[in-house]
Amino acid sequence: MSLSALRVAIIVFPGSNCDRDMMVAVERLAGRRPALVWHKETSLDPVDLAIIPGGFSYGDYLRCGALAARSPIMEAVLDHAARGGAVMGICNGFQVLLEAGLLPGVLVENAGLKYVCRNTCIEVVDGTGSPFTAGLVPGQKMVIPVAHNEGNYFAGDDDLQRLEDNGQIAFRYVDSDIHGPANPNGAARDIAGIISANGRVMGMMPHPERAISPELGSADGATMLTASLEALVS
């Protein structure tokens, strides 16, 4: 199967603002435009990958991602995940996946108590068992920007250790020559992204869809997304 045969859906909530960016990135990398699915829909056509994009779904009211996680379409996304379907959440999408219970832990306010938008360097931690890391090499470093106010990943020590032991930590912030601390938000164990126990659901704070060409500052997001798409197609 070629990449263009891959069926990708991007869920659009009121307040999503990275839906177009992700659509453009996937279309460029896979050669086929993903479907944009409005949150009021109650069903999801069969897809190979459902993406929850970044933004401020429901204006971050109540808690980031909390209202979106209870939107009509999320029933269908949960069903898709329960069948072993692949789901990727970026930034606010990661927050939605946590609120929906598809991934463990919480994202709390940045340690610096401020919104932060800048490049970060992340390292691939686990290279097997998940389509989101299978095409990447453990230790591989990628420059991908973050832009968030609540990206500080937190879980209890036991849960963190379990994530570590199970190989569920997908990406970690690491030192580089980028200005500022490696970890932009105080996340526990420098966690930038995690995967579910079965490897089929992944959430990350950095925005790969914003790093898809050198002119945008980095093409490492394209590397990461392409690896995921290729792993899902094979």
Partner: protein, 742 residues
Amino acid sequence: MSDIMSAPHQHPAMTFENAASMGLSREEWDLIRTRLGRTPNLCELGIFSAMWSEHCSYKSSKRWLKTLPTEGPQVIQGPGENAGAVDIGDGLAAIFKIESHNHPSFIEPYQGAATGVGGILRDVFTMGARPVALLNALRFGAADHEKTRHLLSGVVSGIGGYGNCIGIPTIGGEVNFDSSYNGNILVNAMAIGLANSDRIFRSAATGPGNPVIYVGAKTGRDGIHGATMASAEFSDETESKRPTVQVGDPFTGKLLMEACLELMASDAVLAIQDMGAAGLTSSSVEMASKGGLGMEMDLDLVPAREDGMSAYELMLSESQERMLMVLKPDATETARQIFEKWDLDFMPIGKVTETGRLVLLKDGDVACDIPLAPLVDDAPEYDRPQAEVAKRPVLASADISDDRPVTEVLTELLCSVDLASRRWIYEQYDSQVMADTIAPPGGDAGLVRVHGSRRGLAASTDCTPRYVEADPRTGGAQAVAEAWRNLSAIGARGLAITNNLNFGNPERPEILTQMAQSVLGMGDAARALETPVVSGNVSLYNETDGSAILPCPVIGMVGTIEDIGAAVGMAPAADLTLVVIGQTDETDDGWLGVSLYARNLAGNPVAAPPPVDLEAERRNGLFVQQQIASGAVAAAHDISDGGLAVAVAEMCIAGRTGAQLTLPEGGNRHGWAFGEDQARYIVATADAPALLAAADLAGVPAATIGSTRDGGELQFGDEGAISVGDLSNLVEATIPALMSGG
């Protein structure tokens, strides 16, 4: 809705005292009664006072604004609509405007700044453009003033709070500090959008009988009479005006933007106007008067957030995220479905009429029935007196001691709040959403890709208030020239400008002089550089207890670059030759008068600011643009605050590279290093002989001043070298230290 014949007015008649409390003068009160042929009621008086406020009527500035050039082959829409529009090729228009939210931001910094961003974004998408970039221009009081940290922190998070949420990248801006802003900060926000040139929407109502539709958020009692507040001086009691500050909701703003753009993709919309300053009043009056028609609205139909709102409150509320539209009658149902999809209110509240009158019904009664012509055409226009501009002496460099090593002075200047890194600020703004940002904040100009193409849209906001204070005409021209240079330095050509005139009380002759003369200077420069003014905003009465701000006529310039791949930044690699383009004034070693150096380190002597040679600006800017386009320049930076040495140091910090500079033989070293002569750039090139030859051919002064080098050290002549890494750490530490109270 019943038709109104001659309306009985059962509402209590107003008195001059009522009018005065709304900021109207005795003459204006008399004029209203003459034009109306009777005494207005509360609602009517409120409408007159809002429309005749400085903010809405430009009554003190109009005479001067008329002198600005507003036309050119690139101009699609000049001043007078929600925003200006220029042709950028490929059938696309860049639509942009800058607007102030100074007074609200001082009272409530987060909401004031957030609604400033929301308001300017509405101005742009009202024209049918999808916003693609935000910029700002901010002025705060002295760094050590007790309110500065609170205001800076609140304004920055407010700007981010709105822009980040609605998902438009903030790609540039400027932030400066001066004690004259201690009691009156400046918060100017600029938005740029893109639309198809043949799909631009305007505000003139058409077609009597067509429905007038209210969409967006509900109306509450917030911001009532904000336009009048923005037209008065501050006093100790101003903070009690907190309820006149609007509250923003970027989430609703996002929904409204998407719904409007979705609707405007059809041909349903005949006219559209956002409800900004003076809310429903200015939107309905402007739509009807621009169309040469009338409007009738039933205020009982206005979606209200609170019960029992009066006609006066409904008309003067400045609740955010609202729009007024005139639709084709048969498109109303389709339009309703779009707004329902986005969970927004959609309510037909009236109709266009032929009467030339604004008629408002409330509780089955006529709450207002006034002719539109006097509201708009008879708005007062003042030719207020000016004061003499005292001619200032030229500060001779020879009178300044240059004993201190250049590197020592350089370090002190770079670490001042005036020049220190703004990273603490701009990292709180999402600069990359929409995935088209080529040059984020921190460089000379911001640059975004025109989505789906190789073309780039560049923008910068600029003003040097101390120059404007010293010589308003020169300062007005310099603001345009510096914006032009900032665009040129990345390889883009300026196309047009928007301006935000921030001044004190125009009833004082010395303030009027600042405004009038700087507008004339701005016009000189806009003509010379072929960057006409297409939109703008005036903010007067920026005073607290009688003390005015440093005059700040901000320029926002928009330009284009053919190929984003050709754009350069200010970060050179090692082993490149550094060439200064442009020259210092022939009379001296370097112009130190009114420089940052003179202000911070030489006792701030009264002096003339650097002269602006517009022909040189044009020639040197075009040369730099051409050299960048041809690939001859690897990095470039304009020379502005702090002069040549600061520009080189900023390049070294950005490129993490060292440099060796040659100090001139004789002359004043500080004049050479820190003079602020205009029309100058530093470019880094691998082929200096070719660049110098090209400059010679173009009649552009150019001279080699040194080269970049490995090793991370910056050295001037035989002075001791300083570590660029150390300098970078110091420059990055200033604002964080200020904000943490260090």
